[in-house]
């Protein structure tokens, strides 16, 4: 365990720059974006140097820690503000800063016409800082700070154009859905403290073996809930589609490459919990599998290019979650797919952005078509990403995804078959909707009017990052798998016991062939189905399509089960508060008032009445004294 004194700058730099840009305000308009980009680039450089330093070290010495100060300390509840950079977090740090920097560069051009570009970059750096804190924190509570920090950043960025009510609503929805997940995380932390008396990863890892299975299962479930919230997994996935309201670079960085994968990080980081609890693992695979199909199905029905991509993100993360649920061996593959996905999905989002840039922010794919002639570079880079995601060898997705499918099958027994087949099915669907996307956007005949739209290739500032990411989506997969480099690299963190995967159900090559098979089917069907694309979405479609278009009724469900009753409850309570709780108070006043009026009646001004009352009083007095003394 190496101690470092400068890890904190990874977070401090972007944070400070963000604060600077926000506080200086318009003063920084001229150079704000440059500063932000510079900072982000330097963090990447720093991260890279750390990475090589880490590689030069070996074994336990690779992990680096820095204790900043003791943050909270009450009774036995002691939490340091401390950072931990190990083999797992470095992957994320590199991804975040790397992709982040590329997207900064891209945004300089993409946002050039927006009067609030500076604010945009401030938010971006705020996000970078929070995300780095998330992956660098050495305890659940530190992670939690980053966890909500990225939530805030995502809220700000989704609602960047919050003058549009729909966008503001989308931002709010995202934050609230995330909060639901955060409840899970905070409960998990409480369980951790109650069980192990600490919330640091190390401490919990040490204690995990001694804990009761129930506690572990509970904590696992809560962590999963958190992951579901952040990574748009079933049942908390509904916010991701709306999140596309944010500027496209945001969707690329936050809602494709980095933030949404935080859930995968959380589960991988908590491997000691899940390894110790089969129940938790089962839940994880179920959620993962459902989501990967869920997303894929939604993807097949979306006409909005960004929403289609969002759906695919959902499904891809489903793969990762599934992988994390498959035991020690799965984590590495999850991370691997996470990284490759980071490249190609970010690339494709930037591509989508470039297309919108060329088409006056049109997002409906039915109004695209034949764009490859007008945006050649975009088409090519996008194509690379496409090949990667559907898993065509030797592109990145091929390696990472097939590993997951393979492991799924190897889970063993019926479980293995179910998971494997679902994964395969997902692959097929992926191939179908991605092909559909490509066909509708770049191929075929233009479905846009020449005099309104003047599609044009984006400036270099935009296509260079796309190109770099495209390269990534070609090379990364091979890089990670060659000699199982990734698996070995991560082993000390995620698989200390060095456990192997289950017995090979079938040879890897067979799995790959199967996968390729379904992919070919998917592609072929898509190409056949979308020979011609109607400009208006056809109304006469199967109920399935209709449901799929509506995100498989997830929103409807939430509305019916949570929102409306919630509103009813609120209005009901407001009413009850007035008429009952406060009503009681007013009732007391009223009673006293009326009784006062009644008393005034007796005071009728007649001396004789008073005398009578007195007389009665006397008798009562005598009577009572009498009774008392008997």
């Amino acid at each position: 365990m190496t101690t470092s004194t400068h890890l904190v700058y990874l977070i401090a730099l972007p944070l400070v720059s963000a604060a600077l840009l926000l506080i200086l305000g318009r003063l920084a308009d001229k150079w704000g974006h440059l500063l932000a980009t510079l900072v982000s680039a330097s963090t990447f450089a720093f991260a890279a140097s750390e990475f090589f330093a880490m590689r030069s070290r070996s074994g336990a010495a690779r992990a680096t820690t820095q204790k900043l100060f003791d943050w909270i300390s009450v009774g036995t509840f002691k939490v340091d503000a401390a950072l931990l950079l190990d083999q797992l977090s470095i992957c994320f740090v590199l991804l975040i800063t790397g992709v982040g920097t590329l997207i900064h560069i891209y945004s300089i051009a993409y946002m050039s016409h927006d009067r609030d570009r500076r604010r945009f970059f401030a938010y971006l750096n705020l996000f970078i800082a929070a995300m780095l804190l998330l992956v660098l924190g050495n305890s659940y509570l530190n992670l939690y700070v980053g966890w909500e920090g990225v939530g805030l950043a995502s809220y700000l960025l989704i609602g960047f154009w919050n003058q549009k009510p729909a966008y503001a609503t989308a931002a709010k929805k995202a934050f609230v859905a995330n909060r639901v997940g955060d409840v899970g995380l905070s409960l998990a932390i409480m369980i951790a403290f109650a069980q192990f008396g600490t919330v640091s990863f190390a401490g919990v890892a040490a204690g995990a073996p001694h804990a009761s299975s129930a506690a572990l299962a509970a904590m696992g479930a809560m962590l999963l809930l958190a992951a579901a919230g952040k990574s748009a997994q079933f049942p908390l996935q509904s916010w991701l589609g709306d999140a596309m309201a944010g500027p496209t670079p945001v969707s690329a960085l936050i809602h494709a490459a980095t933030m949404v994968t935080a859930g995968v990080y959380l589960i991988t980081r908590s491997n000691f919990i899940f390894d110790a609890s089969s129940t938790a693992r089962l839940l994880v695979v179920i959620v993962g599998t459902i989501t990967l199909l869920f997303g894929a199905i939604i993807g097949t029905a979306k006409d909005d290019i960004k929403k289609a991509l969002a759906a695919s993100t959902m499904s891809q993360i489903g793969y990762m979650i599934l992988a994390t649920g498959l035991g020690p061996i799965g984590y590495a593959f999850a991370i691997m797919h996470l990284l490759t996905h980071g490249f190609f999905k970010a690339g494709m989002f930037l591509g989508a952005g470039s297309v919108m840039h060329g088409m006056n922010d049109e997002v409906n794919m039915r109004r695209f078509g034949g764009l490859n002639r007008f945006l050649p570079i975009t088409a090519i880079t996008f194509g690379f990403g496409y090949l990667a995601i559907i898993g065509v060898p030797p592109f990145a997705g091929f390696y990472s995804k097939d590993k997951i499918i393979e492991t799924a099958f190897n889970a063993g027994g019926t479980k293995g078959y179910i998971l494997g087949i679902c994964a395969l099915l997902g692959a097929g669907l992926t191939a179908f909707y991605m092909t559909r996307l490509i066909v509708m956007t770049f191929w075929g005949t233009p479905r846009w009017s020449r005099d309104e739209q003047h599609p044009h290739e984006s400036p270099a500032l935009m296509w260079v990052p796309m190109a770099i990411l495209a390269v990534g989506s070609v090379a990364s997969g091979f890089l990670f798998t060659s000699g199982n480099s990734m698996v070995h690299w991560l082993a000390p963190v995620v698989n200390p016991s060095g456990a192997e995967g289950g017995a090979e159900l079938m040879k890897p090559i067979v799995v790959s062939l199967l996968a390729l098979g379904v992919v070919v089917i998917g592609v072929a069907y898509a190409i056949f189905k979308y020979r011609t694309v109607p400009v208006e979405a056809p109304e006469k479609v199967t109920v399935f399509t209709r449901i799929a278009r509506r995100d498989l009724m997830q929103d409807a469900f939430n509305e019916a089960v949570l929102m409306r009753p919630g509103q009813k409850l609120t209005t009901g309570l407001v009413w009850a508060d007035y008429s009952f709780v406060d009503g009681l108070v007013r009732a007391v006043g009223f009673t006293l008032g009326t009784s006062s009026q009644a008393v005034r009646k007796i005071q009728n001004g007649y001396a004789r009445t008073y005398a009578l009352v007195m007389l009665v009083g006397v008798l009562a007095l005598v009577a009572t004294i009498w009774m008392v003394t008997l």
Binding site: A81, Q195, A211
Partner: protein, 501 residues
């Protein structure tokens, strides 16, 4: 003479000075009031510096006989909890004065009266936290209501008179119940050798269970009304709706803390057994307050009553933490009081500025302020974030401490409590969206953004929120020994770790 006495006398001095100023000299009056409050803050700073943290028990003690016939003393002293709350007061008052620089105009009475009331109130707020003689505490606890009554009724908006009356009656009623219990305690002390009102001596009394329950309720209901805890809360929204921003800040930020402070200082210390008896009920009430307050906050149309209901929810958290009977819960609750003080201050001040500029407190009359008045919008937004306890802001630390402290003893309660943080996100973001986002509503186009004075006012509040969010240690170090002492006295100890290593 104890430095606490100095702290109490300074504002009174200021009141005298102002009393001799001419009615018309508004500027001078304001400046005097502000300077005095700054001096008080400075002196309190000195006190904080001289405070030996890490030692439980009262410091800066002073005691001189007041009403010999009943063994009543003017006795003051500060332990960790009292100290932080006094500091909260002394810091908030100058901020409030500066923030509401022109609040007093348009009032029913002169600016002069307003600032005299303010300073008198400050004296009493310091005194109530400093008092170590229960009778002294009670006297201030009750007398404090009068200046607030006139501040609301004389300088408020809308149904101010009715709201003020309701507030006063409600509180006085609680106070009378407390009086009965107070007398009971005193009589018991006389029967057990030497009547006294000294809190430390009283805490040594041997009281049989039924009597304890009876007395406990007397105190608790008074504090529950003050705090306010469901179902004793209905006076709060009205008061908050009609009071000026500054008054609301002091009312919810400081005065209501007396309730929760009293629960710790008196209920738990004087009647440990009764505390144990009633804890389940109170926990339930706290949970109800948390969720109930949150739901009603969502349902509010008036921005001030929204803030009021959020406070009800937050006081639920504080009460939960107190009666969780764990060091985390207790310290968390105390720290929560401080943070809530600042975050409500931020909310009410920004809200007051918005209302002043727009001339309406209906949330729907705002909208799109983000574009028109970015700084104001940001201040309100950050205040909101601290209300929903975003990590990195101090309120998160306290809220999490409360929850974790509760979880170790009452997991179910904690789980319900965590639902509160989802609802918090809802009510804050709904308000933010309706007031700051969307198209700029007509009537808001040429709103002025914050001026320098207002920026200067809100900056320190936000700074404190953020600083304590990242580095709560100074405050926690002061609080911890006291809360440990309280717990020991109440005979409670933290639950052991389940899976020992």
């Amino acid at each position: 003479m104890s430095i606490l006495t100095v702290l109490e006398l300074l504002p009174l001095l200021g009141t005298l000075v102002i009393a001799f100023l001419p009615k018309s000299a508004n500027r001078t009056i304001k400046q005097v009031a502000f300077v005095i409050s700054l001096v008080v803050a400075a002196v309190s700073g000195v006190m904080a510096y001289r405070f030996r943290s890490g030692t439980p028990g009262f410091q800066f003690v002073e005691s001189r006989p007041w009403i010999a016939a009943f063994h009543i003393n003017y006795a003051v002293g500060a332990d960790g909890i009292a100290l932080v709350l006094i500091l909260l007061t002394t810091i908030l008052v100058p901020i409030v004065i500066l923030a509401g620089w022109n609040e007093a105009e348009g009032g029913r009475w002169s600016v002069k009266t307003y600032y005299m009331l303010m300073l008198v109130l400050e004296t009493m707020m310091i005194g109530v936290f400093a008092a170590t003689d229960v009778f002294l505490f009670y006297v201030i606890f009750e007398a404090m209501l009068v200046p607030v009554y006139f501040l609301i009724g004389g300088y408020g908006r809308g149904e101010r008179a009715a709201a003020a009356l309701k507030f006063l009656l409600y509180s006085l009623f609680g106070g009378l119940l407390m009086l009965a219990a107070l007398i009971g305690t005193y009589i018991i002390s006389t029967n057990q050798g030497g009547g006294t009102f000294d809190i430390t001596k009283l805490s040594m009394l041997q009281i049989d269970k039924p009597t304890q329950n009876f007395l406990f309720l007397g105190f608790f209901i008074a504090f529950a009304i003050k705090a306010p805890l469901w179902p004793f809360h209905t006076w709060l929204p009205g008061a908050a709706k009609s009071a000026t921003g500054g008054t609301s800040v002091l009312l919810l930020g400081v005065l209501d803390k007396v309730g929760t402070y009293g629960m710790i200082r008196f209920c738990m210390t004087l009647f440990p057994d009764a505390t144990k008896t009633f804890t389940p009920v109170i926990i339930v009430l706290a949970i109800i307050s948390i969720l109930y307050g949150a739901f009603l906050a969502i349902g509010q149309k008036d921005i001030n009553s929204l803030i009021a209901f959020t406070s009800i929810s937050h006081f639920g958290f504080i009460t939960l933490g107190i009666f969780a009977m764990t060091s985390q819960g207790l310290s968390g609750a105390t720290f929560y009081m401080v943070n809530h003080g600042f975050s409500t201050a931020a909310l009410f001040l920004t809200a007051a500025w918005m209302v002043k500029r727009r001339g309406s407190s209906q949330i729907d009359d705002f909208g799109g302020l983000q574009r028109v008045t970015p700084v104001l919008a940001w201040s309100f937004f950050i205040a909101g974030l601290s209300a929903l306890a975003l990590p990195g802001l101090s309120s998160f630390v306290s809220e999490f401490l409360v929850l974790v402290g509760t979880f170790t003893r009452y997991p179910v309660a904690a789980i319900f409590g965590t639902l509160g943080i989802v609802l918090a996100a809802l009510y804050v973001l709904l308000a933010v969206q309706r007031s700051l986002h969307g198209e700029t509503k007509p009537g808001n186009e040429n709103m002025k953004d914050l001026n320098l004075r207002e920026k200067v006012t809100i900056a320190p509040v936000i700074a404190v929120l953020i600083f304590l969010g990242f580095y709560p240690k100074p405050v926690l170090n002061v609080i911890n020994p006291t809360s440990t002492a309280v717990m020991q006295h109440a005979g409670a100890s933290d639950p052991a770790v389940k899976a020992g290593k």
